[in-house]
Amino acid sequence: MARWVPYCALAWAVVTVNFALPRVAPGHPLDYLLGEEAARLSPRQRAEALRAFGLDRPLHEQYIAYVVGLATGRWGRSVRFGRPVLEVIAERLPRTLALFIPATLIAVFLGTVLGAWAGYTTRARWDAGVSSAVLLLDAMPGFWIAMVLLSVFAVELGWFPVSGSSFAASPQPWEQVRRAVLPAATLVLATLGRTFLVVRGAMRSVCQEEFLWALEAKGLPPRAVLWRHALPNAWLPAYTQIVLHLGAGAGGAVVVETVFGYPGMGRALYEALLARDYPLLQGILSVVAFATIVANAAADATYPWFDPRLRGGPAA
């Protein structure tokens, strides 16, 4: 139960920050809620608008109304897109997930395999080579990897389309996949280092455990020791991190989506920010916060699948 406290606190903090942002930022909240139209309103229209948004009521009533609205799906209209916020999110979220989930799974797979091997091998030079290469890759900014991939594979070689901005207009599924390849590759390259480092470190400490030597005394070949026994143990510390990372992915990868013009959540967040589109910004931040909480719950709930010691039952 105590584990839940920080995440409920997070949800509450995000909701409250969302509520406060347009009210404490310089300028009048109406400017943010209506954009440029706000300047053209007559005094009477202004008063009406204030009433319509509930801004004439005391602050605590506004707060309650805001929370209730959030819970009941009244998330307001996006200024930038001129459509309900929920509609924009419903359009962008699946695109981001379609990019992010496969990319993360591939990155986790590669990072795990390389990290497990590098932590297990007795050949120090091979380990140093692979680890340095991954460390270097991990240090490169994601947007820079995106720029280089775009320049080389889209512009110079012409294998992929240069921009994904016409993504929605493109009818063929195959074309959509083609447009997603480079952004996905960027995400894989930019995030596999994280899994690699965690798994490699965990593998190192598993290798110090008694049972590993005993497995060799059983006559198991090294690959069975590594993949069947050492890796599942080394993977436990990485697991929670990976699930939480997936949760954070609901916010989209801002820089990667921006470089490729990929119309996902991250790009929407960036556009909302540039346009000071508060309703949309609030909506996206709420989604990110809730996804984080869900991911945490999922990590907590599924961890015992991998670790029998946490499944309860009598212990000696």
Partner: protein, 559 residues
């Protein structure tokens, strides 16, 4: 991370060079980075080693001046973050209680917030200046360090000398000032460089998204313009986008490398790697050789390490075990017993080196077989009950699966058959039927020991090697084990070797006893002979002590 010295040196050099460049930027840059000094879009050439951008500013000068902003923002943010982390971590560890719980909840919260999304939103409000960026990044990056420093400080507070100081009335602040800070500084330094690496990346990302200060040059800002002006779709990306990107990446990588090296200073265990197998002297396989027993050890000499620091663990040890025998090997700690066991299994690890001699199992010598054949011998021809049998289980698999795995590795059986075989042998050694599906953590020490015995016996080995089999068992458990070995092992295994410092147990079991001392065989013979007329000084002392113990015990009970 294996922070090999060369890499750490390279990382330090890279950082030192850029720090110097950042300091001397106005003098070093060939041009004013804000002035149009050349043709727009010119490729690298004389006068402009990296070419110019879309308004004719010199890219090399931009890069040199950009180092100032990037390193300044990164360094200052890291300094702030580390300061916060040290304060919060130490306060949490030293004062504990409610203060600790609140701070750690806050840390949890900060760690789950997606940093870039939050940074974007806040940066959009705070405006684009160097100072707000530093504040923002410090506020985002302190949490990880606070947790690490708290954990290490707590570990230190548990150490004897700190507890003694506290008992002597030392105040918390004195403890922090005089002892903890000094002991923690490598960790604090590691946190600093790691925070700086994260701050550099975040700063570059913010600048790249156009949220940096447009009036100062920075690496991320250069990449923003390269992207915004379309350098990516022309060839100009090679000299416009690649150098600042490499600068960010290599600087972050250098910082990470230094961070790992510092972390290893705090936790030397991080440096440990799985040791490779020790090399045996090659012995040509001799088909005409006649085995004198299931285990033959000939003049075996093993050392750990090289040069003057080398330690000789075994010095010309010889002996053999015939079929049907139960041989005991006794000796004090450090007499070479564990080395002998590892050598018998062919599992010596570097830094152990076999200087000479041989070990042969059922006539096959470890130096003369390939890795595959060697694996086939283990657990089939020679099976081991390890000293750490209580802890030598994979915690994630039921015990019965692990026993069945030993069957399946060596015998061509279906999964079901292997499992049935495993269950049968487990039952034979008295493993309770109701616990068959249990995981290791749910079993008692005695049950885990029995299950290991079952695993060692399940393939009907020619030789069973028991390494300190009574360790960790109470007197009743020891008694049960002795009876088990006497009754069951002879049925399943052709010969048994018990290696132990526990002379009474070995006396009860063995047909023949070998006494090992300082890596040499100092005595061998039947138990009666050893008990009656011990020859070597060590044996005499142990036997004497044993008899004195028995005498006083008998006197107490009878008298």
């Amino acid at each position: 991370m294996t922070a090999s010295r060369l890499w750490v040196f390279g990382a330090g050099l890279w950082l030192a060079v850029w720090a110097a460049v950042a300091l001397g930027a106005p003098g070093l840059a060939p041009h004013d980075p804000h002035a149009s000094v050349g043709e727009p879009w010119s490729p690298p050439g004389p006068g402009h080693p990296l070419g110019t951008n879309d308004v004719g500013q010199d890219l090399l000068s931009e890069l040199v001046h950009g180092a100032r902003t990037s390193l300044l923002v990164g360094g200052a943010a890291a300094l702030g973050a580390t300061g916060l982390a040290v304060g919060a971590g130490l306060a949490s560890a030293v004062w504990g209680g409610l203060w600790d719980r609140l701070l750690m909840r806050l840390v949890d919260l900060c760690l789950v917030v997606p940093a870039l999304a939050l940074a974007l939103v806040v940066a959009a409000f705070l405006g684009s200046g160097v100072f707000p960026a530093v504040l923002l990044l410090a506020a985002l990056l302190w949490a990880r360090g606070a947790r690490v420093i708290r954990a290490q400080a707590l570990a230190m507070l548990q150490r004897g000398w700190v507890i003694a100081l506290r008992a002597a009335g030392a105040r918390s602040l004195y403890l922090i000032r005089a002892h903890l800070v000094q002991a923690l500084w490598p960790l604090v330094a590691a946190e600093f460089v790691q925070a700086m690496a994260a701050a550099l990346t975040l700063e570059a990302s913010l600048s790249f998204l156009g949220l940096g200060d447009p009036t100062v040059k920075s690496w991320g800002g250069m990449l923003y313009y390269a992207q915004a002006r379309g350098a990516v779709v022309t060839g100009a990306w090679l000299w416009w986008a690649v150098p600042p990107g490499l600068c960010v990446g290599l600087t972050v990588a250098s910082l990470a490398m230094l961070g790992f090296a510092l972390e290893e200073r705090v936790h030397p265990a991080l440096r440990a790697r799985r040791a490779g197998p020790a090399i045996w002297p090659q012995i040509p396989a001799d088909p005409l050789r006649i085995a004198r027993g299931v285990l033959e050890v000939e003049a075996l000499t093993v050392e750990y390490g090289t040069g003057p620091a080398a330690v000789r663990a075994l010095d010309g040890v010889s002996g053999h075990v015939r079929p049907g025998e139960l041989v005991g090997v006794v000796g004090p700690s450090g007499s070479g017993k564990s080395t002998l066991v590892a050598a018998a299994m062919g599992l010596l690890r570097s830094p152990a080196r076999v200087l000479g001699g041989s070990v042969c199992v059922v006539g096959v010598c470890w130096g003369s077989v390939d890795a595959k054949r060697a694996r086939q011998l283990r657990c089939r021809s020679i099976a081991l009950l390890p000293q750490t049998a209580l802890h030598a289980w994979d915690p994630l698999r039921p015990v019965v699966d692990q026993v069945a795995e030993a069957v399946a590795t060596h015998q061509a059986l279906s999964r079901r058959e292997a499992r049935l075989r495993a269950q049968a042998v487990l039952k034979e050694v008295g493993f309770p039927k109701s616990r068959m599906g249990a995981y290791p953590h749910a079993l008692s020490g005695g049950e885990r020991q029995r299950a290991w015995l079952a695993m060692a016996l399940v393939n009907g080995p020619d030789l069973l090697l028991l390494d300190e089999p009574t360790t960790g068992l109470d007197v009743l458990g020891q008694d049960e084990l002795v009876r088990l070995v006497r009754d069951r092992t002879r049925v399943r295994s052709r010969a048994v070797v018990v290696v132990s410092h526990d002379l009474p147990t070995v006396l009860r079991l063995a047909d023949r006893i070998v006494v090992l001392c300082d890596g040499r065989v100092v005595e061998h013979g039947p138990p009666d002979g050893i008990l009656r007329s011990p020859e070597h000084a060590y044996t005499r002392r142990v036997v004497g002590a044993l008899q004195a113990l028995r005498g006083s015990w008998a006197a107490e009970v009878v008298g």
